[in-house]
Amino acid sequence: MKKLIATLMLGLVGLTATAPVVHAQSGPLRIEITDGVIEPLPYAVPNFVAENSGAGQLAQDIARVVAADLSGTGLFREIPSDAFISNITNFSAPVQFADWKAINAQALISGAVSVESNGTVSVKFRVYDVFAGTELGNGLRFSGTQDGWRRMAHKVADAVYSRITGESGYFDSRVVYVSETGPKDDRKKRLAIMDYDGANLKFLTDSSSIVLAPRFSPNGDRVLYTSYETGFPQVFVLDVGSVQRRVLEQQAGGMSFAPRFSPDGQDVVFSFTEGGNTDIYRMNIASGQRTRLTSAPSIETAPSFSPDGSKIVFESDRSGQQQLYVMSASGGNATRISFGQGRYGTPVWSPRGDLIAFTKQNKGRFHIGVMRVDGSEERLLTASFLDEGPTWAPNGRVIMFTRETQGANGSSSLYSVDVSGRNLKPVRTQGGGSDPSWSPLQQ
């Protein structure tokens, strides 16, 4: 057995090592995500083995987070531990495949945790294709601080997901969103950041002024958002690490909103309103130099770059109703891509480049949908009183959005749905939430 354990040293806080390149194997243990999974793949993840006395609780907790990640995708179904015939007490001992076959565990994840005397936590794991009786890929080890244990668990789950689906994962990621409390006519809004699963919540602003629609930078280090801090809506940029913020530009007599970063993180596209007319501008953050990209008497807003930075999708009511358009990232002629019934807004280009997610309003209902970048193959994924503002998971397979309920006591919360339309579910937040923006996978 030449099972190599690749070691990935994760930095003390930043976890800076490069991600492992795992080549997916062909074989029976494989989920094709694009098909949409009707029958989730059964798997077992016994408690990880505690390799020294300080690791007991972490060994349990990490296995639980791995299971929550995998089962949360809707692609996998965990076999409960009370069904187990045998257990894993030694990470290096041969696996009793027959015991796992008997309970129909198609995948088995084993792991071990140790805590070094300096506080460093090491997590190693292996994935087995039970019915083939083989290991899927090589074992991996992650190290980090005790505080970072959830991230190590997410990295394990990302690797498992990647090996079985052939796609990169999305668990070691964060979400910045607007936390909401209070009644509809006096809602308190603050920027909040959390792990994609709701853990490690942290507030980035207080609730003294309205904040809207935060957007992560391409490497997750900064957030653009709109704030009424000056009395008028203006785009701010906030450093996630230091929580320092500054207004992007001071423009008297106008309001700016709907910002998004360019894929290289150096430019911002946003809407600027002057004399009641809203158009799209692009600004270089370092120089402050701004270029006007649209010039029409209609509303042009909600711009989003293609991942290669060459194009921008946006919404405009130049036809008399909100529709989606694509133009060059330097402006110029735009091509309309939405032609179905109703109104289309808040387009967001998928990180894979293949799809555009949008909000659709039709016959008094709101939908989150996707279409190809030329507007073809429109599919609606959700329907409710008010769904809006999609954001893509880093692997382009899941969409998170805002759902607001009806009536005087209506409230906002975050939901996620697969790009297949399956696995619609609420995202855990503390209180209400809106306007999520999903970070890239953390490094």
Partner: protein, 175 residues
């Protein structure tokens, strides 16, 4: 002030002897016109209160601080223009004040679009006031989109009141 109001009351009392057969003929004046009781109310106004025609409270409650819009429109209605004509007159009379016009939308729209739509509505009000002679330097606009509804039900009865532009009066920056 009180003297002036007393004269108005007296004038109306005289008119009432001959022409005030239609009680509405002086309607829209200082309130209670045409009766002795009205004179008493006017005589007792508190400066700055809603009864003081030079107060922001009077502007809000009697002139009317808001105009309403049709779904997804920023065109002023006839009723809206009538209210704004009154606002323009008030602003030209009370030159110590400036105004911020806040545009709003109902909740049935996406967040960014509603911000832009609210800005259009606020600007429509501003342009009308300027066309009536109000100095544009006294008028700022901003939009709250759907962030600050006046009414919170999810029905047209509330939506129709939320699709609005509100003129907020404050003391001038130089005063």
């Amino acid at each position: 002030m009180i003297g002036t109001f007393s004269k108005v009351g007296a004038l109306c009392a005289v008119v009432a002897l001959s022409a005030c057969t239609n009680p509405n003929s002086l309607g829209g004046g200082f309130g209670g016109a045409g009766s002795g009781a009205g004179t008493d109310v006017n005589a007792g106004i508190v400066p700055g209160s809603a009864n003081d025609p030079t107060s922001p409270a009077y502007f809000q409650q009697t002139v009317g601080d808001r105009v309403l819009f049709v779904v997804d429109q920023s065109t002023l209605t006839d009723e809206g223009r009538a209210v704004l004509a009154g606002q323009a007159t008030w602003l030209q009379t009370n030159t110590d004040y400036v105004a911020v016009i806040e545009g709003h939308a109902d909740e049935q729209g996406t967040r960014e679009y509603n911000l832009a739509l609210g800005a259009r509505r606020a600007n429509a009000v501003r342009e009308y006031l300027v066309s009536q002679g109000v100095d544009g330097n006294r008028l700022k606009t901003l939009s709250y989109g759907k962030e600050r509804p006046a009414e919170i039900c999810s029905a047209e009865a509330c939506y129709s009141l939320n699709r609005r532009a509100v003129t907020i009066i404050s003391a001038g920056l130089t005063s």
